[in-house]
Symmetry: C2
Subunit: 248 residues, 2 copies
DNA sequence: ACTGATCCTTGATTCAGATCAAAATGAAAA
DNA sequence: TTTTCATTTTGATCTGAATCAAGGATCAGT
């Protein structure tokens, strides 16, 4: 996958693609300048581990480009994804010394990082940052709770439909498309990663995707490129009210 | 259940049982006085609904005594608990007009409430409140992610053991007991509520509790009073590392 | 003590998804 | 092109938890 966007470093925060969605979204120009001075970029190749659960973590940061996952693992190897990190999402927790989860780059990833201590100082001095972080954390909590319903109560088919709906909806939001009618996007996850997200096995994921294809809910070109002819139909399959309930 | 604590109203914030854990925990005396002026108490009987998902919500607040649940429901009635609200936990979200989840009092509950607008104003003027709310929200997010592993990857027996461990651990924290050896507590939830928490049916919950009893992992007196002779043993059944990983 | 209501337990059977197994696809390397 | 390797699909079988069904325990009200 030829992807050189991960190697392009924004000239300054004003040019940054996540300027208006990340933890810095509410910052004024002068605040941004101060952040600018303490930030640094790190990039990770697809498949690379950003940090292991339990390891000392002396930075926090935002995903600028690419996709990463947060996962939890049991001793016997069972793993559950607990977060999907997209551009603008925040990694790490101010006031905590070690990583709570494994963070793995799913595609090539570039992150905008801050050493923890300077960031914490900056946060104390800059209410705009703390405000935005609170807002983002509350959104993540809502997403996690939505996901608890999916994990606890939905069938395999509904789980797959829910995941497709979430990916599709996010894609539509980013590219300013409507959320009805036809929708086209690429799956950013392998079948195994989808299984880890949904609490299923990869075989079940594959079978349910095939079933949705057979039933005309989705059209597949290759293994990753998805067309949803009728988004409302997909939502029904996901078991959600047509009204949605999620934020856009 | 004779429980008149729910009817006892603290004289002032200084006497409040959740003074040092709630959203007001970091407030100085003068900040507390201002909160004191805009707060009011509401009590709810066991079983009563505090608010329905989707309803207009013009207050936020803290649970002072008792236990409440946050639940999500699908049209066909499947329900998933997404939060267990204990004393000091915060209800509602600043900057949101409607409730995202059903909130139901599981026992008699007393809440310390604030009308949303004055609270938001106070938050903007009082960093200590926003700071504490961020910290509490991050903790809740961690708890939600822990729960995603339980829902997605654990067996029915492990789920029950995990829930017992969480309730037991919290109890030990509140009453300053150790987290090893024998532990005694009451289940604050019906079998059905446990099932909704764990993504199981109430029959499976009942069977697994019976199995843990049969195997000597727990001792039951009546249906709600639990003795855990060996907490480490329970943790093993929960499939968790002995080191725990959760915050105390 | 009886009635009703709620909550809980246990048994029999079914079924959705896991597990075990093999083959197909497709991209990268040689 | 052929080989390799990761990824995905599909089939056969098994199993853990759901579902269906029946009673038991506990408590409040009469």
């Amino acid at each position: 996958m030829l992807n050189d966007e991960a190697s392009v470093i924004p000239k300054d925060c004003g040019q940054c693609p996540i300027r208006h969605r990340a933890v810095c979204a509410r910052c004024e120009v002068d605040e941004l300048e101060r952040l600018d001075q303490i930030k640094y970029y790190r990039s990770f190749q697809a498949g690379q581990t950003v940090i292991w659960a339990g390891d000392r973590m002396d930075f926090v940061g935002s995903v600028v480009t690419g996709i990463a996952t947060l996962t939890q693992t049991m001793e016997d190897g069972r793993t559950q994804m607990v977060g999907l990190l997209l551009p603008s999402d925040f990694v790490g927790r101010p006031g905590r010394a070690t990583a709570a989860y494994n963070v793995v780059a799913t595609s090539d990833v570039m992150m905008c990082c801050f050493r923890k201590k300077p960031f914490e100082d900056m946060m104390a001095a800059t209410p705009h940052i703390a405000q935005r972080l609170l807002e983002m954390t509350l959104d993540e909590l809502d997403a996690a709770r939505e996901w608890m319903l999916v994990l606890g109560r939905k069938t395999a088919r509904e789980k797959i439909a829910s995941l497709l709906a979430i990916i599709g909806r996010r894609n539509a939001t980013l590219s300013m498309q409507g959320q009805t009618g036809t929708m086209v996007f690429d799956l950013p996850l392998t079948r195994e990663a989808m299984a880890d997200y949904l609490g299923l096995t990869l075989e079940t994921v594959s079978r349910q995707i095939s079933a949705l294809k057979r039933d005309g809910i989705i059209v597949l070109e290759g293994k990753r490129h998805v067309t949803v002819p009728d988004f409302d139909r997909l939502m029904e399959e996901a078991g959600d009210d047509s009204d949605g309930g999620l934020l856009t």
